[in-house]
């Protein structure tokens, strides 16, 4: 039996060696350069993407991509997937699958691709569909050649070039070319080309060769901001029959305003007079905006429905008024109409929403952004309103649309502005506690946590949990305390001040551990850092701390009668460019101790060489947060 296997293997080897013409090399997984394979779940062996501009409203994209897949995580990089709807037509698609020796084992025709609606979990409805290759590999590695031809009847979303489509993908050869048959003027921008092996063959024709896979590392900046990206847009384009001009953001913004927003903002007189009545006598326009924002939050809800012009035209404000729901575009546009009724000017704003910070490119105008918010201009700084949230405080953006460049769509044209940056003093968590410890090492405590800014956004959800889940939440939050019982919870959400206050009464049995006659415990009971960033023997990528914050803690500990401190560390302080940390223990009267702690982390971009020092900083914090107090009997 083993003999048979051997002959089979040598048979394939034999065949493949002789069947290879030079260009066929890319079908055999054996012939991937070793350095490309190393940090890769998949290697793009060959890609040729040709974008032909046929007319103002027609682009044809032909694509051939040959990908070798090494494991399950690499499967998606085959990229044998195409979306289609009224504006996108899949003319051809096919996949050929090869085994590791480069022998063809399966052919998948267009009709054999899985065809499903593209509706995502969070959407009620989307009007596009998707065809994708569903192949269960018998073994890895294997290679897929995917070819497609797709015609776009809209030129607003020009297929850009991203030679690297994720972490852990190696690129052997990738080619991108634009053929401008229609002769429409183009604008282009090369981003992050410098660090990668990319050659310009001719104008609008690029080739990337032998790019190693990128390994994910903690604290890396947004992936989109690191990888090469060839940005392309037409200076004159069409979005489903609507023509547009795009020389710069000013043009593009004006087009958006005129063609996508104008005429969508009508709301019934009844609603107008209602909001006027609500704001009657309020002189300050920001105060009026607050009232209207609250009105909108109470009246509407967010629902994702993706239909209409490329998903870009908002639902009519009148319909939102009638139905009480819309997606981000519809709700933003509706709020804008409401504000107009009370003489508060505001601008529809496009943004990349998300926890990581991603800018709208101020130097390159094109269809960008994945979310809409509303900007209320204000002398003390623009105020941005998240209209999809029914609970957000007025003007609160931390965690989703803070600290990034966004596009204001003004009647006179587009304008790029930066949203609010939450500094360390804007995102504070203040924990105070009174602790009564007894001779067995058990304690009861009354703890208060107050949070603002970004830290507010982390705590905010607690009040809506059921009592049982709130208890579980606090037991997880203080998972360093064994045998924790939550006796009482009081939460106050002051949205005007954006201040979240939690008060928890709790108790723990045997918190301090016994060792002979001693009691040993850690005085940092309620805000312990335990997590050290992962270690990399040689870090490859720069790193980034997106948001600053500040934690302050003050715990008053009543020591048990008959026990006194035998030993403890009085204080520690660490100062680095990443931030600072200090704690202090002081004896008060009546056998009490006061523990104070401040931890500030700053926002910043750092070279990879600094990562070790950053880790050391965090290691020191973890260590100092474990500092112990030793109690002995008071003789």
């Amino acid at each position: 039996m083993p003999q048979l296997k051997l002959t089979l293997v040598s048979f394939f080897l034999f065949v493949s060696v002789f069947s290879f013409s030079q260009s066929d090399d890319v079908y055999s997984a054996f012939l991937v350069p070793i350095e490309l394979k190393e940090k890769a779940n998949a290697v793009v062996r060959f890609q040729k993407q040709t974008v032909e501009i046929l007319s103002l409203d027609k682009i044809k994209v032909t694509n051939k991509r040959i990908t070798t897949v090494y494991n399950k995580s690499g499967k998606r990089h085959v990229n044998a997937v195409a979306y289609y709807d009224g504006t996108r037509d899949i003319q051809e698609m096919q996949a050929l699958i090869y085994d590791e020796f480069g022998e063809e084992i399966k052919k998948v025709k267009k009709r054999d691709f899985v065809d499903v609606s593209a509706v995502s979990d969070f959407s009620i409805y989307e009007d596009d569909r998707v065809k994708y290759l569903d192949h269960i590999p018998l073994k890895y590695p294997y290679t897929v050649e995917y070819t497609s031809e797709i015609v776009y009847n809209s030129t607003a979303f020009f297929p850009n070039w991203y030679p690297i489509d994720g972490y852990y993908v190696g690129i052997q050869h990738s080619d991108y070319e634009i053929i401008n048959t229609a002769g429409i003027e183009l604008k282009t921008k090369k981003e992050n080309f410098g660090n990668y092996n990319i050659k310009e063959i001719s104008e609008y024709h690029f080739v990337a060769d032998n790019i190693e896979g990128i390994k994910y590392e903690a604290y890396t900046p947004d992936f989109q901001n690191m990888i090469p990206h060839y940005k392309v847009a037409l200076k004159k384009f069409e979005m489903v029959g609507v023509e547009g001009i795009n020389n710069d953001w000013n043009d593009f913004g004006k087009w958006m305003y005129d063609e996508l927003l104008t005429g969508t903002d009508f709301i019934p007189e009844e609603t107008k007079s209602h909001v006027k009545q609500l704001t009657a006598g309020v002189d300050d326009k920001i105060e009026r905006a607050k009232i209207v924002y609250k009105y909108m939050q109470d009246k509407t809800r967010y629902i994702s429905i993706q239909v209409g012009i490329g998903g870009w035209k908002p639902m009519l404000a009148n319909d939102v008024d009638k139905l009480g729901y819309a997606d981000c575009k519809g709700l933003t546009n509706y709020t804008k109409a409401l504000l107009e009724a009370v003489d508060v000017p505001s601008y529809y704003t496009l943004v990349y929403g998300g926890r990581s910070l991603r800018d709208i490119d101020s130097e390159f105008s094109s269809t960008q952004g994945n979310h809409a918010i509303l900007c209320v201009p204000n002398e003390g700084g623009n105020i941005f309103l998240e209209c999809t949230s029914q609970t957000n405080p007025f003007g609160f953006t931390a965690g989703f649309t803070d600290d990034r460049k966004v596009l204001l769509v003004k009647p006179e044209g587009g304008e790029i502005v930066h949203t609010k940056i939450y500094g360390a003093d804007d995102s504070v968590q203040k924990t105070t506690a009174n602790i009564q410890m007894d001779a067995t090492g058990s304690f009861t405590a009354d703890v208060s946590i107050e949070t603002t800014g970004f830290q507010y956004s982390i705590h905010e959800g607690i009040e809506i949990k059921t009592e049982r889940d709130q208890q579980l939440y606090y037991k997880d939050y203080w998972d360093n305390i064994n045998n924790l019982t939550i006796d009482n919870i009081k939460i106050e959400n002051n949205k005007d001040e954006v201040l979240y206050s939690e008060n928890v009464k709790l108790s723990s049995v045997n918190y301090a551990s016994k060792s002979g006659t001693r009691l040993i415990f850690q005085p940092n009971i309620f805000n312990k850092v335990t997590n050290i960033p992962p270690r990399y023997t040689s870090r490859k990528l720069e790193f980034k701390i997106d948001r600053a914050f500040k934690d302050t803690d003050e715990f008053i500990i009543q020591l048990p009668e008959g026990l006194k401190v035998e030993a403890m560390t009085d204080s520690k302080e660490v100062k680095t460019k990443f931030g600072s940390y200090k704690f202090k223990l002081e004896a008060l009267e009546d056998n009490k101790l006061k523990y104070t702690r401040t931890y500030i982390l700053l926002k910043g971009n750092y070279p990879k060489e600094d990562y070790k020092a950053f880790r050391t900083f965090r290691k020191q914090i973890v260590k100092h947060d474990k500092s112990k107090i030793i109690l002995v009997k008071n003789l």
Partner: protein
Amino acid sequence: MKHFLIIILSIITLNSINCQDYKFGEISKLELQEKYYPMDSAANAAILYRNENISFEFSQNNGFTQLKEIIMKIKIYNKEGLDWANEKIILYQGRSGNNISIKGIKGYTYNLEEGKIKKDKLKNEGIFTEKATNLYSISSFTLPNVKAGSIVEYRYVIRSPFIQIDDVELQFSIPVKKLDVNIFTPQFYNYKKLLNPKAFYTPSYIEKKIYKTISMTQRVSNNSPKSGVNQLGNGSTISKNKITYFDNKIVLSEENIPSLRAESFAGSINNYKAKLSLELEAKLSIEGYLEKSYATSWEKVAKTIYESPDFGGQLGDFSIYKDDLEAILAGVTDDFEKAFLVENFVKSRVKWNGSYGKYAQKGIRLAYKEHDGNVADINLMVVSMLRSQGVNANPVILSTRNNGTPLFPTREGFNYVICSVENDGEMLLIDATEQYSTNNVLPKRVLNWQGRLIENEKVSRWINMKPSKNSVESTMLNVTIDDDFTVSGKVVKHLTNYIAYSYRNKYASMTNEDHIKSLEKDKGAIEINELSIDNVKNATHPIKVSYEYELSDGIEEVGDKIYFSPMLFFATKENPFKLEERQYPIDFVIPYSEKYMVNIKLPEGYTVESLPNSEGLEFKDANVKFTYLIQQNGDFLQLKAQLDIVNPLILPKDYKDFKAFYSKIVEKQAEQIVLNKV
């Protein structure tokens, strides 16, 4: 010569589909004013009323059609409850037009505005239908003008050509104030009923017979059937008859059903959801004779399944694999060795497509050819191959963990099949869908209740699916304390059975570097080097993992003493059981042991000031045990700690004791060794 009969049944049902005492559209101000649900003030929304009405409509062309009407009236108390104003219904699209469809979607939103009830109607713009895949379409709708305080009310009817009735859900993630279920099944179909016995909430129901008078118009054609389509009134005589038959009616009416809340370590919460299952048992003729029996005993269920071409039909010899098989098994005589080789051959030849099932999806021939298939394609292939080699191999049908435990004989109770091999009174179970499952270590999804081993149409029997084999993780930890209180040493671990299986699934295809990073996670200021793993891909042997470590924050110096927990980074830091009480059991799934042998070299210039006490703890007749033995041995401190989960199921009534027991384990592991500077 037979009469060519066309029977037009116009059924005058005595019961209207609506429930008698509920009026759609009747909303009170009081309900709209309600600020929270009185029985559960934390509820974001509550179902004020739900009515599920199932009945069967007869037509000449289609026979019986199942109609399921749903009425929902939901109060939304706050903004977190707004999602209850959206509904998504999945409609299966069968072969040859056997589609499930929806009709009659009606919905209203009610708000209180300036003391008056305002009503908004759900219009077409809020209703969406899409063909999601070839197998199903999705109908969804969203009600207008919903805000905190609103009441939404909707109804719709689902039409199904199938006689099978879906499980009737009686419990939801929000509380239900009032629930009515009425199920009318015609006397021609017999259903067996069962309420989920694992549910914490158990409603009750009553059964009635409801006689119906059918006014039946019988048109007897005088033409012969060959003459084609009958024209109305053309050569036929009409006779009117009244026929009486009955519906079996199930009436379930409940109030104040608590919401269903998940608990950790309990497995799928759906296993504990209150629901009513109905299994079609038999079809009867109009005269009441048994026309077709489906399932009445486990033997019959097994027989019915076996007789299916997609089950028993897959167990014969197939020429497609004959040559490959002979090549692999040449010279092998032992049945278990054959089984092992065939298991591995199938694993390398056919990949699992992720679908469960007791019936083959593609059939063995196609699955073998195309290299993929569902659970039944793969495991029935193993049975078929082994049988073709004269091995005593049989299929075992079972219910996976998230499919629950059927308590009455039902085909739907089984959703999975594996292969058994018996020889010399020993049994080997095989599931070839997972790479690292072997040697009676099966994927956790199948470790549920019992399986039905089917030898043939006539003979079947139960086998226990719960694992009896203990799984062990044993760890040796060597500790040396340096002058700067950095701790270093070596870790050697041995993992067997299920613990090894989990480890393989997690780490087998990971790079060394990622593996180290994963090991370093949550262990403090540690650096791990020289990692080596044996047998990670060879599932027939225990795994051995060893590495060197350096820990810079394991020891604390306070004054002239040093303090540390002897288990260092292996100490359990928190008790995972945080609920004060539970409604559902804790299920560890498998019996297992965790053993630690720690060997600490005392640093020079230090003596032992105090050690934790040695202790043994037991939970409930030693169902779970923990021992902690520490002693000084010259320059060394030695700790043996061991946790044994002998019985992996902890019942809710024992939960409080168990929680306290586990807390003691965590406390014990946190206890410090104190060393004194000489």
